[in-house]
């Protein structure tokens, strides 16, 4: 299959390219950019007039809910959502049921995910058995089965000695360790940011110190062990400062933020809107502003969807009983563009945070749009509005605090390995 993407504006953050260039794809790879390669006879020509052609998006946190939670989402529904959202590579956290702590499970998942319309799945293996924070998993075996990193999803390792040893063991193989920074004691029973809104609504608060204390532990141990640490879902201004200080001190650490924390704050809990029940909690406006600035400067390395499909029953509950998380895969691109627009950022910088930068964290060859790279491409209309509605969302999870809103940025085509996985002109 040879595809010619014509008349588009090519943005490749990795090479800092932003100009009108055609793209040529053959045998699953990009074979030319700009001039037509000699003898190239396309089977198909995709019109990208008025569109931006960029590398397919790389999402560092996208739950597939398989195995174990198929009533919330299936691989099919979530992969359709990925393609519709221009996401061509994704990392999935290990908090499935059973958790991804055995090579067989990882192999089954990656095997199931190996279909032409499906984004590349990069499982994050469990760092400890059952995510219980007690015993180490067989990381080398899990890596052979396809795990790109090891983490705990949202679950903390309470015992710091286990955390130290897990990081040491991972560092032995130079495996990246992905950790969410939240002290389980300070977060106990907490459901919202410990601030004005929680005080008013009578919700149990999670103080910022829950993040900074856990972060201090993680950063100290990273320094001690030399483990490659990636901090997931940073939520506070103080957390951002600590990571910057650690880097300045020579500690190798990366971090990401979720789309929700970039655009929302504690006020968006409104009158107990369970869609805003997220982990970590939405924090203050000041925190949100710091996250936006840090992502722009690159102090936060990547933006992710933290896609967590929850069925309606899980959200139709009192706020503190409702299930945690929001659907987000199809919102990653529109909310990246919205942030870029509001921050007056060049698109080549903004798109780096959802393409080349997360690809580097994942350690996979993705997020580039140059000859020789995989044919993972997203073609989107930056002006056309995407309305967030139950009907428009392909994910089985319709749970999002953005429901009912419209954002510019609609995907026209998604190519995965040079195969047209999504055609927005048909819908």
């Amino acid at each position: 299959m040879k595809i010619h993407i014509k008349n588009g504006r090519l943005i490749d953050p990795a090479s800092k390219t932003d100009k009108p260039l055609d793209v040529f794809v053959a045998a699953g790879r990009i074979v030319g950019v700009g001039d037509t390669p000699a003898g190239f006879e396309p089977n198909s020509v995709l019109d990208a007039t008025g569109c931006i052609v960029c590398p397919g998006l790389v999402d560092l946190a996208a739950r597939l809910r398989e195995p174990g939670f198929e009533y919330r989402a299936t691989l099919e529904s979530e992969m359709a959502a990925a393609a519709a959202g221009g996401v061509t590579s994704l990392a999935c956290p290990p908090d499935t049921d059973p958790v991804l702590d055995e090579p067989g499970l990882v192999e089954m998942l990656t095997h199931r995910a190996r279909l032409p319309d499906f984004a590349h799945v990069h499982p994050v293996g469990a760092l400890t058995v059952q995510l219980e924070g007690k015993a180490l998993t067989e990381m080398a075996e899990l890596a052979e089965a396809g795990c790109v990193a090891f983490g705990q999803a949202n679950r903390a390792i309470v015992d710091t000695q286990v955390l130290l040893r897990a990081m040491m063991y991972a560092a032995t193989f130079d495996f990246p360790v992905w950790l969410q920074a939240q002290d389980p004691f300070l977060a106990r029973k907490g459901v919202a940011h410990d601030g004005e809104v929680a005080a008013r609504l009578g919700l149990v608060g999670i103080p910022v110190a829950a993040e900074t204390i856990a972060l201090a532990t993680i950063l100290h141990l990273a320094n001690e062990t030399g483990a490659r640490v990636h901090v997931t879902r940073i939520s506070s201004a103080a957390g951002v400062d600590m990571i910057a200080a650690a880097r300045a001190a020579g500690i190798e650490v990366t971090c990401d933020v979720a789309i929700h924390h970039l655009h929302l704050c504690e006020m968006d809990v409104g009158f107990f809107d369970a869609h805003a029940r997220l982990d970590p909690p939405l924090r203050s406006q000041r925190d949100r502003d710091a996250l936006r600035t840090a992502l722009a400067s690159g102090a936060i390395n990547a933006l992710c969807s933290d896609h967590t499909p929850v069925d309606d029953d899980g959200k139709q509950m009192p706020f503190d009983e409702a299930e945690v998380g929001a659907t987000g895969r199809e919102l990653l691109l529109p909310l990246t563009l919205k942030w870029a627009q509001e921050m007056k950022l060049p698109l080549v910088t903004a798109l780096a945070r959802v393409t080349s930068d997360p690809a580097r964290i994942l350690g996979v060859k993705a997020g580039r749009l140059v000859p020789g790279a995989a044919g993972d491409i997203c073609v989107f209309d930056p002006v056309a509005e995407f309305k967030v509605s139950r009907e428009n969302l392909k994910s089985q999870g319709k749970n999002t605090p953005f429901l009912g809103l419209e954002f510019p940025g609609r995907v026209r085509y998604t190519l995965i390995d040079g195969h047209l996985a999504f055609d927005g002109t048909l819908s």
Partner: protein, 322 residues
């Protein structure tokens, strides 16, 4: 992303009573004014008026409460409503029925009003929103206490009591003393007092029993009770539950009583005509000395009596706004 105030209908009238926060002053005044004649009903030989005749009021209590449920029951019965009491506790949760399933089932039995007590903050909102979203806005929801969030009828009966004894809100200094952190009563009192124009609302508690950012609700924070009580017109005590002694919030009831228990000696720092209130049930010797609880400045039993009139007023107004 929050819509408008979910307890008002499109004419700005009260359709549900979920919280005092955000309610206009004139709505609060109207409730208090409506309650006044109802307090006389209890003096009659036949303690009933037919305002809610033929209506079904469901007391939906997901959390134990004898006192509040009883006063709601009496209020509804004095308005001639049929009252059905459901103490759901955890039994429905064990059967796997969700809160909204329970509400739907009762709505199908032609309920006109739900009086809801729930351990989770916001639970009555969920029911009210669900009724609205399914075209059953004519079913009114009254919050009878949700988690730590609100207990609006308690807040209103407290305002009724204050108005009864002090007439004018605009000259008062009011102190709320005790476990503000866990108290839905305190939050409702604070919103009611600030909305009604009380110039100084104080909260007095150890720092472990104050929520972060409480001063943003318009209160002055005192940790020292003696300092906080100086010159106040009204002392509103809060109940301290015994389980607060676990979990490192407080060391002991003795130490709590010493620092924050209301004794005659501490009360003497308030104005000589200050009144003492308590939402009940009281823990004598923990937050309040018996000499104060039974003393001449306490208005704790009148609060209970006024509570019935205020709850009658709320139910009558909601039914009238159908």
């Amino acid at each position: 992303m929050g819509a408008g105030n979910p307890q008002l209908n499109k004419h700005g009238e009260l359709n549900h009573l979920l919280t005092i926060e955000g309610l206009p002053r004139d709505v609060l005044i109207r409730i208090l004014d409506t309650a006044a004649p109802f307090s006389e009903v209890a003096e009659r030989e036949v303690k009933k008026i037919p305002l809610l005749r033929g209506k079904s009021v469901f007391n939906l209590f997901f959390e134990n409460s004898t006192r509040t449920r009883t006063t709601f029951e009496i209020a509804a019965k004095r308005l001639s409503a049929d009252v059905i009491n459901l103490n759901i506790n955890t039994s429905s949760a064990n059967k796997g029925e969700t809160l909204l399933d329970t509400a739907d089932n009762l709505a199908a039995m032609h309920a006109d009003m739900f009086v809801v007590r729930h351990a989770s903050s916001g639970a009555p909102y969920l029911i009210a929103q669900h009724m609205g979203a399914t075209g059953r806005d004519h079913i009114h929801v009254v919050n009878a206490g949700d988690g730590r969030h609100a207990h609006p009828t308690q807040g209103l009966l407290d305002m009724y009591t204050i108005r009864h004894y002090k007439k004018d809100f605009s000259q008062l200094t009011v102190a709320i003393v005790g476990d503000v952190l866990h108290s839905r009563v305190a939050r409702s009192q604070i919103h009611a007092l600030t909305t009604l124009g009380v110039p100084e609302v104080r909260v007095i508690a150890p720092r472990t029993l104050l929520p972060t950012g409480i001063e943003r609700l318009g209160v002055r924070v005192f940790n020292d009770m003696r300092e906080g009580l100086r010159g106040v017109d009204v002392v509103m005590m809060l109940r301290l539950q015994n389980e607060r002694m676990q979990g490192a919030l407080l060391p002991s009831t003795q130490e709590y009583f010493k620092s924050w228990g209301l004794t005659p000696e501490k009360l003497a720092l308030a104005k000589p005509d200050a009144i003492v209130m308590h939402p009940g049930p009281m823990n004598r010797g923990v937050e309040i000395d018996s000499a104060v609880a039974d003393g001449g400045q306490a208005v704790i039993l009148p609060q209970v009596t006024f509570g019935i009139a205020v709850r009658m007023a709320v139910m009558a107004m909601l039914a009238g706004n159908s």
